[in-house]
Symmetry: D3
Subunit: 242 residues, 6 copies
């Protein structure tokens, strides 16, 4: 049973994590999972939103978007339509929650980091690539904040690493890191966000076709945990390469 | 280890499903999970959205909202703010996907059913109550459509039942059907949507505090599957009572 | 000349006023005029809008809305359309003005009460039911504010009671409290808001068909004043029953 | 008891009705009630909105707005704020209803007339001046439509005339056609729309301060009917002068 | 080669500048370039926008809009559509920049002047008429501010005068101050904003049909500079006439 | 007089034009002018907007936007703010007009090309880089349309080439292709769009500081024409390299 691109069922697409892509941002990463390319920039500002002030804790949030022609047919700009769609909202919230899961807000101090994840080219797995890349941009931004003395030098705002991958069942076979064409055909589609030590931050599984059984769920989780472990390595390698 | 309201960890709150609540809608249910009360109405119209026309298949969608004072402090109306928030979008989409998982669109014919789920009072679990109530409203709407000959009399648009429940880990203990105060304290929070025969339609788990391990995930899934089985009985009882 | 439901021309539909409907709001009333059902909640907050600060005077305002399937055919949500329609604006403003007519803002102190009137089921007279129910919710909210010491215990923020009813001319006959089918057929349609002592707070008459003469206007006002007197009794009974 | 500008209590401000103000519109009137100046243009188009097609009946609607500095202090543009306020909606709807009361839609044929009423300078009574001026613009537009053969030459789309005036009680004295400063001080404020033969199209009375008694309402109606009779004369004179 | 209205190629349409058109605004001008009529009002307020506070410098900005029936066919209101179009934005920004070019912000002090330019009737050249009229309204507003002691009496906030005119090439002939019908036919269309001493504030030339050569550009600039000189005279005459 | 980056006054920054950047779009170019990087994608669809149908002519339009962290400090997303700013509108319109100047709409046939220009990193001259890159993407899209037989094979929809550059006066010296820091300091700022044969499509000059004289305008135009000639060469080289 071979896949469109010849991969094995439990194989990731080629992953690249290019740091320092932008000259302006405090952290910036161009991440690719195969043909999916997402530009993740981290912007650090002193202070936190009004509702969070005064407690000495920082904040991390994210905004996800797609360029209109990131996809096979052009989509309308959300700015032109004057409102953000449900899918965009959902993914922005997912990325923010995932990153906050590995942040010690006290250690971050009253600083805010905004992760912008803009999909330049989409081929499935844009949200998982975004989380994986945004973590690296966040790590660079935190390091910048420490060099700038915004964050205390010995503080450890990052309590771990976080990465994400999609898994799905196609023609009855659980597969890792679905490309767009595979995603469309999947009966069950799941996005899993793991910490570097293999625990779960988020598990989102959806029956696209028929409902799935516990055994299928278990097989998908196994695949995803293994995939995240390899993404964690790629993140470490990228951060070591700086 | 007892809960705020004295329940056991694996016990649902009292569930009521009141059919025929509205005189106008083709299906209408006032569902309550403890103090959470959601009005679910099903509106049937002939025809489908433009992008779905001509294939002989129907459509089912949902819109979720909260009254401004459904909660402990008043929230702004989304109509007044002029835009729908991310949480609302996310839940509306979840309800729609969950119901579509048990629909045979060919059997439904080119008809559309819109499920409006309006939270009149919120005390945790509004999305799971909404899914559970909306399924009953949908069943009534389908029956109405068959009486009206919009849907072929022998068609079986419903391929099964669907219900949903929240589970979470509080002070290390997995618990079923969280009330609002419990939800706030939960380290991990999961919403699970099951079919009547115990398979999964949707699994959404989030680490609110620290990441969770596979064993915790397994315990939560066990609780949720058992909870959905009891909700399935409550739905059957309500539908039998018509 | 009998009416659809057998009422006399000068007879109200059955009126119910159920207090304490919601566990969260400072005042909450489910009011029904026949099949019209409106949930009115009063939310009290310390402080007033910026433009009113510093004068020691409170504020009372209202927002009216309809659930999408409150009516015979489903209406689009105003939150989804991204803007509030003219009719909604108009009724929200009417309810707010009506309640402010019986408020002593000095006695209320710098507190704000927001009355949310959400129509759960519509069958004509939704705005008049909303005003009638909102007054009772407001009275409960003021009493709550006094128990909480937000409002001075001996202050009398309510200078009177207020209720409202619709009247109209159908086939030449003036009638009280129109149900939806009657409203559609009315040549002239009037909403009248009265104080408990029988004076006018608001008179809004519209020729739907042909313009109306002074004598017709007089007959409608007589009917409405008598109708409001009976609604005033119903409000007193409800408030006494607390 | 003399008024700010020396008028008697039952006296209108100077009224001017200047037809043909714009070279583009099918009907255009610059109407002034004292310092209140409103530009009313009537735009005729063949066809009617979708919901009204096929019945052979026309449509008349209106949009009211104020220039930002029509008032004493500058107001934000509704286009800049991105939404229309409740007051604007309410007045646009009132003008539309008032004009439709004197239209025979069958005689108008499937044509639409839009009346734009833009307040260039405001000094109280902008909605009543708008209705009074818009009627004249509408009459010119109908005549244009007949000359262009859009409307059958012998049809009589106008079943009468319509004009409007404000009345109010100031220091206990009923007064006609309030200027802005009077309007602010009025305890009761009423807008009355009459046909040329003295019947009512719309009566909107509001207690701004204390509730008003039936005798006060009667006195205000008497004043308003007499005021509208004089406005009717001014409209006739303007139309005769064409 | 004569023009539609018999003018010479280098001749302006009749220009009128009527000051004091509104009783409310600190400066107000009804300007006409032929049949184009724009109402320009200047509103002065103490203080500046937040981003400009504390530097002792004032601010001048502008908003341009068209009444819906200013044009030959009715346009939708931007307030109704809920957003401002690109053309409106572009012209508002142009007017603001043009006026700021002749303002000494230090001399103005921390005061803001908003110029509202509302096109009552359009026949080409609305933006140039708006700039020309707005300058006169601004001069009146500055004089008002000095009489009110908002602006220091000896300060000279105006460093010069500013006016604007359109030029274009029609059938190969460069022409001044295009009316709408000419504008539609122009191959090249240019708006030029000059100071009273003949320097450039803004030059915006666009090839509507075929690209234009340097010699054509030069001829257009010559025409425009001469036209602005005559507009400068008209402005001086109007301001002298106060 | 040397510049920040050591360039001569009449020297462009390094220009790169990378074709085929995206696998989905019919034409796609990553263009850079120094550190300014813009992704230009061309999307071809059969058919034209409603207002243009039936004449056998095509349409070309453009949308410009900036990623939130393309700039030195993060800007809010226009999709989140719910409206498009004036600057964005203005530049989108400029790009569209510039490209339409070299299109033969008859030869294009009833097809639409949308050029999306998204600024990934900004350092001055984003609109001129966008025009220069978008032309190359448009050329690739036209070639694609001809290979697909959407456009007649012998048709020549492109009547020429178009490129753009900024010029400005800094400390009295006219300079070509301003970087952001230079742009901020410029007294006069001009964007010039030229065809490949050196004629003008658009000339937009603005006095940021003091008004500019004719001689300065002439010097700037000379610089710009020379700069566009070099950009035209870069475009040719890129298109030849395909």
């Amino acid at each position: 049973m071979s896949r469109i691109d010849g991969r094995a069922a439990d194989q990731l697409r080629p992953v690249t994590i290019e740091r320092g892509w932008s000259k302006h941002a405090e952290g910036s990463v161009l991440v690719s999972f195969g043909d999916t390319r997402v530009l993740c920039t981290a912007s650090v500002t002193e202070g936190v939103p009004r509702w969070r002030r005064g407690g000495g804790e920082g904040w991390v949030t994210s905004e996800y978007a797609m360029l209109p022609r990131a996809t096979n047919t052009r989509g309308d700009r959300e700015s032109v339509r004057g409102k953000i769609g449900g899918r965009t909202h959902e993914i922005s919230r997912l990325i923010g929650r995932s990153l906050r899961a590995v942040i010690d807000f006290k250690a971050l101090g009253e600083n805010t980091v905004v992760l912008d994840c803009d999909v330049l080219q989409a081929d499935g797995g844009t949200r998982t690539a975004a989380i994986t890349g945004a973590f690296v941009a966040l790590a660079d931004a935190v390091a910048w904040g420490q060099r700038q003395k915004l964050i205390r030098p010995r503080a450890q705002p990052l309590t771990g690493a976080v990465s994400a991958v999609s898994v799905g069942i196609i023609d009855g076979v659980p597969m890792l890191d679905l490309a767009y064409e595979e995603d469309v055909r999947a009966e069950t589609d799941m996005n899993v966000v793991c910490t570097g030590d293999g625990n779960f931050v988020e598990v989102q599984g959806t029956a696209e076709g028929k409902p799935f059984a516990r055994a299928e769920l278990d097989a998908l989780l196994d695949l995803a945990v293994a995939g995240c472990a390899r993404l964690d390595e790629a993140q470490r390698a990228a951060l070591a390469g700086g």
